[in-house]
C-alpha cells in the first residue's frame, strides 16, 4: 500500500506520458482529468465558499452584498496582471517585471499629465503604450536571444523600476482631471448596490482571456508550448510569435492595471505596483496554474484572486493585524496548493488506478 502510494506520487511528478501522440491528436487542451490529475476549480470553490461563510458569521460587514463588490476593488489591479500571467505561466514562462511595468506606466501617465501636453485620456494611452513596449521588450529578449524568462524579467524588473524612479525623481504626481477618477473610484448603481468600475473592467478582461485560452487555436498553442516546446516547434506551431505576444499582452495588462491604480489612489509614484508580481503569481499558483507550464485556467486564477482578496478583506474586518494576516494568507496558499496538487492526485491515482488504464485505452 505504501509502495503503491509513492509510485502514484512519482507518476504525478512526470505529467508527460506521450508528447508525440498529442500533436497527432490536433492539440486538444490536455486537461482530461483522468490523465492530468483532478482540476482544481471545485476544490477552490469549496475553499472560497468556506472563507465567505466563516467571515460572514464573524463579521456583519462581511455578509453585506456590497462587501463582495468591494473585494473586487482589492483584486482588480493584481487581477488584470494575473490574467496575463496565467497565459505566460501556461507557456512555461514567468514575468517578474509586471510590478515594475505598472510603476513605469504610472509614472509615464503622471508625467504626461503634468506636462500639460496631453489630455488625461491620451496620458492614460501613453502609459498603456509604455506598458506594451516594456512587455514587448521582455518578449523580444526571451524569443530572439533565447534567454530564460526568469532571468530576462528579473533584469527588467530592476531596469523598469529604476527608470520609473529616475524619470520621476521619486516624486508623486497628483491632482488629475476628475473624469479620470471614474476608472478606479467610480461605480455603477445597480439595484441599490455600487458596482465598482474596475470590477467591470476585470470581468471583461477575464471573459476575453477565458475565451481566448479555451476556445481559440492560439489558446491551445499556449498549452502545447508549455507541455513541450520542442515538440511544438517540430509541429510547426508559431512558438516565437505566440511567446512574444503573451509577454506584450502582459505589458498591456500591466499598463491597464497601472491606470486603474493611479485612478484609485489619485497619485502616480515610482513605488506603484511594488510586489504586484508576487500577488499575481500567488493568484495563479493558488488557482492551479502549474509553474512547470502546460496546465491552468482563467477560472482557476480568478478563484485564486477571490480567495486571497476575500481573506485579506475578512481579516481586515476581523481586525487581525497586518503582520498576522500575511501568515494566514501564506498558510492558505500552501494548504490549497498541497490539496489540489499533491493530495487529490495521490488519492485519485490510488483510487482510480484501474480505470486510469481504461481511460487510456478509450482515447
Amino acid at each position: 500500500m505504501g509502495d503503491n502510494g509513492d509510485g502514484a506520487l512519482f507518476c504525478d511528478q512526470q505529467p508527460e506520458p506521450t508528447p508525440g501522440s498529442r500533436s497527432r491528436k490536433g492539440l486538444r487542451p490536455p486537461l482530461s482529468p483522468a490523465r492530468r490529475g483532478v482540476s482544481p476549480e471545485p476544490v477552490l470553490v469549496g475553499v472560497l465558499a468556506l472563507v465567505w461563510v466563516l467571515f460572514s458569521i464573524k463579521s456583519p460587514v462581511f455578509r453585506t452584498p456590497q462587501n463582495y463588490l468591494d473585494i473586487a476593488t482589492l483584486i482588480a489591479e493584481p487581477g488584470l496582471v494575473a490574467l496575463a500571467m496565467t497565459l505566460i505561466i501556461i507557456t512555461g514562462g514567468i514575468d517578474l517585471s509586471v510590478g515594475s511595468i505598472v510603476a513605469l506606466s504610472a509614472v509615464t501617465l503622471g508625467l504626461a499629465w503634468q506636462s500639460q501636453l496631453f489630455s488625461i485620456w491620451s496620458a492614460v494611452a501613453a502609459g498603456v503604450l509604455v506598458g506594451v513596449l516594456s512587455g514587448t521588450l521582455n518578449g523580444g529578449l526571451i524569443v530572439f536571444f533565447r534567454i530564460p524568462p526568469l532571468i530576462v524579467t528579473l533584469a527588467t524588473m530592476a531596469i523598469f523600476r529604476g527608470m520609473a524612479m529616475g524619470t520621476s525623481h521619486g516624486l508623486a504626481v497628483s491632482q488629475y482631471d476628475p473624469a479620470f477618477y471614474t476608472l478606479g473610484q467610480g461605480c455603477y448603481s445597480i439595484a441599490g448596490l455600487k458596482v465598482p468600475f474596475q470590477a467591470v473592467v476585470l470581468a471583461g478582461a477575464a471573459v476575453v482571456s477565458f475565451v481566448f485560452l479555451s476556445r481559440t487555436r492560439w489558446g491551445r498553442y499556449l498549452y502545447a508550448i508549455g507541455m513541450n516546446e520542442t515538440a511544438s516547434r517540430y509541429a510547426a506551431l508559431p512558438v516565437d510569435r505566440v511567446k512574444l505576444c503573451v509577454y506584450a499582452l502582459s505589458g498591456l495588462m500591466s499598463g491597464l492595471a497601472s491606470a486603474v491604480f493611479v485612478s484609485r489612489v489619485a497619485t502616480a509614484k515610482a513605488d506603484a505596483g511594488l510586489y504586484m508580481e508576487l500577488d499575481a503569481i500567488t493568484a495563479c499558483v493558488l488557482g492551479g496554474v502549474s509553474i512547470y507550464g502546460g496546465r491552468g485556467s482563467i477560472p482557476g486564477t480568478l478563484l485564486g484572486l477571490l480567495i486571497v482578496g476575500s481573506l485579506r478583506r475578512g481579516l481586515d474586518l476581523s481586525r487581525v493585524v497586518a503582520s498576522t494576516q500575511s501568515i494566514y494568507i501564506g498558510a492558505v496558499l500552501i494548504l490549497a496548493v498541497f490539496a489540489h496538487q499533491v493530495l487529490v492526485p495521490a488519492l485519485q491515482n490510488r483510487a482510480l488506478r484501474p480505470s486510469l488504464r481504461r481511460g487510456d485505452a478509450e482515447s
Partner: protein, 363 residues
C-alpha cells in the same frame, strides 16, 4: 469515476474546513489580546462582530494607523497611545494597526475597512498627503472623525478635523540646521538624505532648513538631496555614494528615523566620523552606542511617546466636542494644556538628545 471524485471533494472540503476553523478560531484570540493591551484594565470585549455594529454604548473606538508597523519610532508612538487609552479607561477602545511597508494604498484599504466597521475616529500618519485624502473624505461622510498625526493629509481635500503636529516644521528645520552648523562649521558643504519624496514632513523641514541656511549660514553649501525611501540599508548605500562622490563633504543630514542611522553606519564604516558630522532625526535607542562612542554628538527629535499620547487625547476630545476648531488649547492628561493653532495641535519644541540626557529615554 464521478463517485470517487465526489468522495474526494468531500474529504478535501472537510480538511479545508478544519484548517479554516482552526485559523479563524485563532483570530478572536489575537483580538482579545490586542484589546487587553490597548485598553489596559478593560476586560476583553466580546466578539468582533458585536463591536463592528457601531458603538451604541457610548464607547469611543479609535483606529490609529501609522505609516508602517515594526519600526522604533512608531512603536514608541504606539506605547504613548496605549498609555493614553489606558488612562482614559474602558470608554476608549484603541485599535492600532498599519501596513507592513510604508504603502499608501494599504493604508487606504485599512481605513476603508475601519470605517465600514463603524469606528468613531480614524487617526492616520499619512504616507501620501494627496492619496490618503479621498478615503478620509469618505470617512468624514460616513460620520467618522478623520484626524492626522505625524504626517498631514491635504487639509482641504481630506476634510480632516485636526493635525497633531509633533513640533512646528520651522522649529525642527531650524534645530537641524543649527546643530549641523555647530558641529560641521558654518562654512561646511553638506548633503541631505530624506525618505520618500512625497513625505510631507521631510519636504517642509527641508524648506525651513534652506531658509535658515540662507538667512543665518550663507557660507554653507547644500550639495544634493537623496531619496532612498524608508529603508535603512538603502539610506546607508546612499550615504556611501555621497562619501565617494563628494570627498570633501563635511556634513550629512539624515532626516528620517532610518536615514539617520543608515548615514551614521556608512560614515562609521568608512572611518570618517572625525571628518563628517552626521546630524539628524531618529529615536534614541538605536543611536545610543554611537552617541556614547562619540561618533555623533546629538540626535534631534520630538518625543514620539508623547505624540502618540497626545493623539489619543485629541481624538477623544474631538469626539466629545471638547476640541473644536478655533480653540487655542486643550487639556491632554499629563501633558497639561497643549497649544492649538488653527486646525493643528502642537506638541512642542523638538527635543535634542546628547550623551548627557539620552539614557533617560527608552524607545
Amino acid at each position: 469515476m464521478m463517485k470517487h471524485r465526489t468522495v474526494l471533494f468531500v474529504a478535501l472540503a472537510a480538511l479545508m474546513s478544519a484548517t479554516f476553523i482552526l485559523a479563524v478560531s485563532g483570530c478572536p484570540k489575537t483580538q482579545e489580546k490586542a484589546d487587553q493591551t490597548t485598553a489596559g484594565p478593560t476586560p476583553p470585549a466580546g466578539p468582533t462582530a458585536a463591536k463592528a455594529a457601531g458603538s451604541p454604548d457610548g464607547k469611543i473606538t479609535i483606529a490609529m494607523v501609522p505609516k508602517l508597523i515594526g519600526i522604533d519610532f512608531f512603536n514608541a508612538c504606539e506605547k504613548g497611545a496605549k498609555e493614553a487609552a489606558a488612562e482614559l479607561g474602558p470608554e476608549v477602545e484603541l485599535i492600532y494597526d498599519g501596513p507592513n511597508e510604508s504603502k499608501v494604498e494599504r493604508q487606504i484599504e485599512m481605513i476603508n475597512s475601519f470605517v465600514d466597521q463603524g469606528v468613531d475616529v480614524v487617526a492616520v500618519a499619512a504616507n501620501d498627503p494627496d492619496a490618503i485624502s479621498g478615503c478620509l473624505k469618505r470617512a468624514a461622510d460616513a460620520g467618522v472623525i478623520p484626524i492626522t498625526w505625524d504626517s498631514d493629509a491635504s487639509p482641504e481635500a481630506s476634510g480632516r478635523r485636526f493635525f497633531i503636529n509633533q513640533a512646528t516644521p520651522e522649529s525642527i528645520g531650524y534645530a537641524l540646521m543649527d546643530e549641523l552648523a555647530r558641529q560641521a562649521g558654518e562654512d561646511a558643504s553638506y548633503a541631505i538624505i530624506s525618505g520618500t519624496p512625497t513625505a510631507a514632513n521631510q519636504n517642509i523641514w527641508m524648506e525651513y532648513m534652506e531658509k535658515r541656511r540662507v538667512e543665518k549660514y550663507p557660507k554653507m553649501t547644500a550639495l544634493t538631496t537623496e531619496f532612498p525611501g524608508e529603508d535603512q540599508a538603502a539610506a546607508m548605500e546612499a550615504a556611501q555614494g555621497l562619501l565617494k562622490r563628494y570627498p570633501d563633504i563635511k556634513g550629512i543630514l539624515g532626516i528620517t528615523s532610518v536615514s539617520f542611522p543608515g548615514a551614521v553606519e556608512a560614515v562609521v564604516n568608512a572611518g570618517k566620523q572625525k571628518d563628517v558630522s552626521v546630524v539628524g532625526l531618529a529615536t534614541p535607542n538605536p543611536m545610543k552606542e554611537w552617541i556614547h562612542n562619540g561618533d555623533i554628538k546629538s540626535v534631534v527629535l520630538w518625543n514620539p511617546v508623547d505624540l502618540g499620547y497626545l493623539t489619543i487625547y485629541a481624538c477623544v476630545a474631538a469626539k466629545k466636542g471638547e476640541l473644536e476648531k478655533g480653540a487655542t488649547s486643550f487639556k491632554a492628561g499629563r501633558l497639561g494644556e497643549v497649544k492649538v493653532d488653527g486646525d493643528q495641535v502642537i506638541l512642542g519644541d523638538p527635543l535634542i538628545f546628547t550623551k548627557d540626557n539620552i539614557d533617560q529615554y527608552d524607545f
